[in-house]
Structures are given as C-alpha cells and as structure tokens.
Symmetry: C2
Amino acid sequence: MAKGEEAAKQLPKVLVLRPPPMFKMFEKEFSEKFQFLKAWESPIPTDQFLAAEASSIEAMLTSGSRPVTADILCHLPSVRIIVTSSIGVYHIDLQECRRRGIAVAAGGDVVSEDVADTAVALLIDVMRRISASDGYVRGALWPIKGEYPLGSKASNCDILVICCALTDQTHHMINKQVLAALGKEGVILNIARGSIIDEKELVRCLVQGEIAGAGLDVFENEPEVPREFFAMDNVVLSPHRAVSTEESSRAKFELISGNLEAFFSNKPFLSRVNIDE
Amino acid sequence: MAKGEEAAKQLPKVLVLRPPPMFKMFEKEFSEKFQFLKAWESPIPTDQFLAAEASSIEAMLTSGSRPVTADILCHLPSVRIIVTSSIGVYHIDLQECRRRGIAVAAGGDVVSEDVADTAVALLIDVMRRISASDGYVRGALWPIKGEYPLGSKASNCDILVICCALTDQTHHMINKQVLAALGKEGVILNIARGSIIDEKELVRCLVQGEIAGAGLDVFENEPEVPREFFAMDNVVLSPHRAVSTEESSRAKFELISGNLEAFFSNKPFLSRVNIDE
C-alpha cells in the first residue's frame, strides 16, 4: 500500500451523494482532511452503492440540488451529521433527521454579503435596465435606433425583496393576491428560492403589465426558466449565482471543513441548524 | 392672428440648434414659457438659417451632442447666454464665449444621483457578471452548460472610476501607462466621457487580459462602440444612459427653464459655469 493511500485510510470518512458546486475547486484541500466516498462516481445504482459501501458512514456532505430523503437515509443507519453547502435545508427531510437524531449543519451566513450585493445589483439593473442596455449596445442597435428608453430611480416604485427560507409555509407565498397588491409600479426581486413565488402567476402579471419588473436569481424548475421571460426587457435573469464568488466559495469550504472536523472531534458545530419543531 | 400665436410672439425667444434628448418630453411645458427657433427643423443650411432668423437672438439651448463652435457663434452676434442640457461643456468653445462675454449654464448636479447609481450598478455588474448571466439564461445555456462561472467581490480588485469632466487636460488621461498600472485585477468604470480613456488602448488591454474588466456608459465615437467589446463577458456596455431617468429629465427641464427665466428677468443663473481662465 502506498503511503498516500495508507494516510487516506486513516482520515475520517465522509459520504458525498453529489458534490456541491465548490467541491471540485477545493477537492485537494478537502482530501487532506477527509476521505470521501463519492457516490456519484459509482456506476452501480445509488441505493446498492450505499448498502454496500456506506452502512457504517457517520457523516455526509450534500448540496442544495440533491434531495436527502427518508429513502436515502434508510440506507445510512450510522449517519449522525449531514453537512449541506446550501443556506437552505428544504431539500433535507428534517422530520426524519429529528426522529433519528441526525444533526444538520448548513451554509450559515458566509454568503450573506454576496446575496445582498446581488439584490442591489438586480434592483438597480431592473430599474435602470443595465442588462437590457448592454444587449442594446452589443446588438449594435444604438447607431440605428438612437436613444435608449429612460429608466427610473428606485424612489418611485414599490420593491419587494424575497429573501426568506423556502418552507412549507413560504411555498407559493407570493401568489396572485400578493402580486396584485404590489401593483403596476411594483418590482419583485427573488434571491431566495424560486418556489416561494408562484412562477406562472409572475409570468402572467409581467406579460399583462400588472407589475413593473422583476430581478430573479432563482426559479421554480432550475435550470429551466420560463421562455416568456426571455423577451422581456424589464426582467433581469441570473442563473442562481447570488452566492457565487470565489471568496464566498472559500468561506464555504472552510465552514464545511470546520463542521466536519467539529463532528469528528466531538466539538460544537459551527453552523448547526435548529431542526426542533 | 390667432390668440395662441399672439401669445407666443410675446414669449422670450430661444434658439435650439438640435434638441436635447428630454426636449420632446417637455416640449409642451417649455412652449408655455419660451418661443423656440428650431434650427434643426429648417430645410435651409444652418448658417443661412442663423443669418436670416437668429441675428437678434439672445439665448440658446443646446445639448452635449451638438458642438457650439466659434463659427456658429459668429452668426449669432446678440447671444448672451448658452444653456446646455449636458453636465459637461467640452462641446462649447469656452474661449470664444469668454472673449464675447457669453454666459454658459449647464446641467449642474441634477443627475448626480443617477450617475452614482449607474456607477454602482456597472461596478456590481462587472464584478458579478449580471448582464452576462442574464444573457446566459436568455440564451437557454443554463440547462445545457450548467453552472455559470464564479464572480468576485469588489474587495479583491482595484477599481478606477472615471467621473471627471472632459477637458484638454483629461483627454486620453487614461492611457497605456495608467491601464498598465491598474493591472490584471483592475476594473475600470467610465461614467464621464469616452475620450477621457484612450479607447484603442482599453480594447487592447482587455483583449490581452492586462486588466480584468470594464463598465462603460460612454465611448469615444458614440453611438459607435468598438466591436471587440461585443464578445467580452467581463465588459458591461451602456448607451450613455447614466443620467437618464424620468425623474432627472424633469429636474433638467426645471433647471433649463429656470436658467432661461433668470436670464430674461436679469436674475442670477441657477447653474452658471465658471469659464474664467
């Protein structure tokens, strides 16, 4: 056995169903601390892989895009901690975790600044049509069509910023009634989760001019985005990147490592999620 | 003579060579205060029109896109004030104005907030690639190509914001040496005038990766924009719209009217430009 392999055998084992977006970026640094069981690399079906390889695993790392259901957890009788790289935990069956005494640690506030920056950027962008202007210039329309239409200052409209967690209570919280109340001068920004807004209603309101505009970083069925948005120049679309800077990716790596290290050394987690009812 | 026409005859006369962008928007309100000589509507050459119609005119209104040269002023022996809707006065022959005792009033600070908003928007947009992300989503690339590349926080780079007036001293002030000093992590924002930057050098630096990105509201030969920019996703292009909201257009209308009214009633101008050497 080579020395590197021997050292790896002694590192704490962590199961990864599907790697978080920043996993590859920090894979080398992660691998100096943990030995990863990479379920996504195995050619055999996940449940068979878990039954064969992961029955004694105590810790798992996951991302917001991979649901952690009771079905998956039933293959993992020894799991005691789930560390998710996401801020939200809607994809994890918290009731099952509670029942089985599994702790959950999430992304905490390492990306708060990035998300706030994105909210400001989307807001100014929608109000002043920055992305649309950029498309206008790139499309070489400026010399042909002349002056681009005016934008507006923030002060003359109502702005609704969605920045809460997705839960059963907030699912489709922004519905027909809320959008109607926002009104013709209203702008909606969503940097939280797509399903907090009833997206079909949002499309309808924008098509019919019942609200003024939208800045959206998240969507109901990512990466699918309603095609109706593509032709709207009062909408700014961002591919769920509010949290994604190099700096916050490193902060996430450090938080995830810190949570796993705390677990393996019986210390308090850095960002434990309260899952008590 | 109809009553309206008679009233118009009594309003103070103002020459307009070419209307500022917001002129049409407030034409009705302007026309209640002033009688405009619309040089741009005349089929005869401008110098003949001025000689025939404008020799007794005392006030003129202009925009930043129409040079007011000594040649034009020589047809206007009675002019005593030039009101420009622009913030800058580089397009006006100030030496000639000084020599002839012509006062100049400009846009003052009515658009400062809008320009500041635009600078912030361009900055976050370049750093976090908002416009490029928007294009990525609209191009339906998200489901095909997956995660969009990471952006950066503002904290890790050097940002140069150009917000000074264009003068003989600032023309091409941002040259090869300045761009080289800004460096590979540097981002340049221009919300002032295109010619303050040596645009050919800027294109070269961006093509060769010698600076990190640019947010540009202004260009050297507007509305022409170097084609090389169109393929760059670290550049945000805006068609000289930093100052253009409905709110600031009204503020401009009020400032222009106020300056002209002050002139015709011998009161101090609201935003006189100091053209003393």
